[in-house]
Symmetry: C2
């Protein structure tokens, strides 16, 4: 019999994917130069040279059969050693190869990590705004996503509200910083307060409450902002990382789970991550890509382009009367909708070729997300459309 | 709380993976020249030229940002069109792009397909011998794997036994031909008999019973054996395909689900496959690899090497007193254990550096699987070890 839950998930695509598909259709109708697709976090900046050069080098120099062969389910041991070394060197955190599990991107990492530490009926808590697929992955793991509103007047962590929400049934808190969709980077003070809270709450609950640090945007920060490395503040941390954004290779699906060796039952958690990955059908992360990212550690695409996109949009939109916070990281602008219903606003924006994602799915109605990881020329061309849209609402 | 099921799955690796890891350890201790690792179906034959040349071409000629970008969740539309075209051309089966869902290999394809059509408590039936991970994937989908013994004195389909096992609770039958581990290819007569049985059983059950055709070994056949294309015999068929073996790229994780358009509720089944893939954390299949396999359709690695391996082993092992059927496809020899307990036999084989997988996990105790997708030189070197092992049992 057809699984109704999956039928629904496959029929009602995520709003983001729906807009992305709509954009492709619209482009074929009115020309791609008239569509300003801000829906998907699909980097427009070319991968750094190390990506294509690295692939060519691997193909030339690596044993042709071994390069494409199965690796261990956890990943190639040399790749895992390199990543552990990078974590130690860059963040000063304890890390060994045996703590690193290679995955097909951050989604696979989140699925395996949630699978490992969530049991039937437990809660996964995340502050608002949050990436909508967290709900899908938490439910697949048998859990329930509970969202907690952000601090009034911004997108900071509201430790008090989190404290009220976190009870015995809480298995994990997902923290996404730099944040999609707000661009917010949580400060060291916020992370410290969260760590203190979770230590207390874990004791009360009688079991560790894990932080799942979803960090695909770690390298995408502006104005020299510091992104605290959560394992240095809280032992029970599982980092889910992806190279999708830093290396501009989101389609290739490559990332990892790092279970901090300081976590309670770190060994068992790691094994459960492996077991979840196996059960979900992940045999190993793509082998060529494993070797590639190992050779590209520390490299990133030219994020100056995102920074100038950010400034161009911020300046123009503010001058047209839009309200938004200045994002500190990632490549999203989270803008207040010009009418109470952001879905209606998103619909009306389509008339001008503007594809903006309503904030409702991110748990923040009244906002739209603008993914500015786009060609600067498209952004420039789109400014007139943003102006017209604003004029329509102010008329 | 740690998920105990996943902890167990991650701790007790599959016997195959366990032997594979043991082999790597043993190699570092006694030298890889003294280890005859027949555990894993990791092709030793180099990928055809089109693989590495195709990757280089894509890197040179394809838009650098688009090549590595997200594709639609179902896969790149041109890739899906090419695959549908290939299915129509090669097998004469109806197929369109909208019936093809790109996946990260066969394991992901099986997980998504089973997720789509199995609901809590339903049965997934498979004839013996079978690939052990079917149980893991069926259980992840909420179902229960039921195995049905093969025809006496061989590994043919026992339609009568299947008929007794298939009831109302049966959602799907998994057919793996060429078969891992037996190397058996089911004949047209066997597939026709199965199709007739399932039509009758579907009517009795009041719902379609799907065939899931797991076909990673389709191209790996010897002596001109014909592999019937199941959608041509049975409408309610879902094909799970992988390029791992045909192109010798198992680590890259690329394959597809093809839902026959003639299947009942084909559209809904397809959508449910998409939904299951989404829920399991598959965002899209690796984008570079999608384009690559699309350019390599119909190509395959040099399987003459497998054929000569097959003949060399078959001749030698038979002369040493081992009993086995001549495999018609895949790259496995399924050999009768020389003592009643194949696990004991496998343990005793390790002394000679021989890593053989006991048949117990394949539902066929009393046999061991020998994956002969190995370097011919290793096979040659291993013959003495097989002789000694046989002598030990006959002493």
């Amino acid at each position: 019999m057809i699984n109704e839950k999956y039928l629904k998930l496959g029929t009602n695509r995520s709003t983001i994917r729906e807009l992305f598909e709509f954009g492709k259709k619209l482009s074929s109708e009115i020309g791609s130069e008239n569509v300003f697709d801000y829906s998907l976090g699909n980097p427009s900046v070319a991968p750094p040279l190390c990506v294509n050069e690295g692939i060519e080098k691997l193909i030339r120099e690596y044993d042709g059969t071994k390069l494409h062969a199965y690796t261990s389910a956890e990943g190639d041991i040399d790749v895992r050693k390199n990543i552990a070394h990078y974590i130690r060197d860059t963040f000063g955190a304890e890390a060994e190869a045996k703590n690193v599990y290679m995955t097909a991107g951050a989604a696979a990492a989140l699925s395996a990590a949630l699978g490992a530490i969530v049991t039937e009926g437990e809660e996964v808590i995340t502050p608002v705004p949050y990436f909508p697929e967290y709900r899908v992955f938490a439910e697949e793991a048998g859990g329930r996503l509970v969202t907690v509103s952000a601090k009034d007047g911004g997108f900071g962590l509201d430790t008090e509200a989190l404290g009220e929400a976190i009870g015995k049934a809480c298995a994990a808190v997902i923290i996404n910083s730099p944040n999609n969709p707000s661009g917010k980077v949580y400060t060291e003070a916020e992370i410290k307060a969260l760590a203190d809270l979770l230590k207390k709450k874990s004791k009360e609950a009688g079991h560790p409450i894990y932080i799942i640090a979803d960090e695909p945007y770690r390298e995408l920060v502006y104005d020299g902002v510091n992104v605290p490395y959560i394992p240095n503040y809280y032992d029970n941390t599982i980092v889910c990382y992806s190279f999708s954004k830093s290396l501009s290779i989101p389609g290739e699906r490559i990332g990892y789970v790092f279970v901090s060796p300081k976590a309670e039952n770190a060994k068992e958690v790691f094994r459960a991550v492996c077991g979840a990955g196996r059960s979900l059908g992940y045999v190993c992360a793509p082998s060529l890509l494993q070797r590639l990212v190992s050779d590209c550690l520390g490299k990133s695409a030219d994020i100056d382009i995102y920074d100038s996109n950010r400034k161009m949009l911020l300046e123009a939109l503010t001058s047209y009367g839009y309200e938004t916070e200045k994002p500190e990281g990632a490549f999203y602008l989270f803008v207040r909708s010009l009418c109470p219903d952001a879905k209606e606003f998103s619909e009306r924006a389509k008339k001008y070729g503007l594809l903006l994602v309503p904030g409702d799915d991110f748990g923040a109605p009244g906002y739209v997300r603008i993914a500015y990881c786009q060609d600067p020329k498209m952004i420039e061309r789109s400014l007139g459309a943003f102006k017209k849209l604003s004029d329509e609402f102010r008329a």
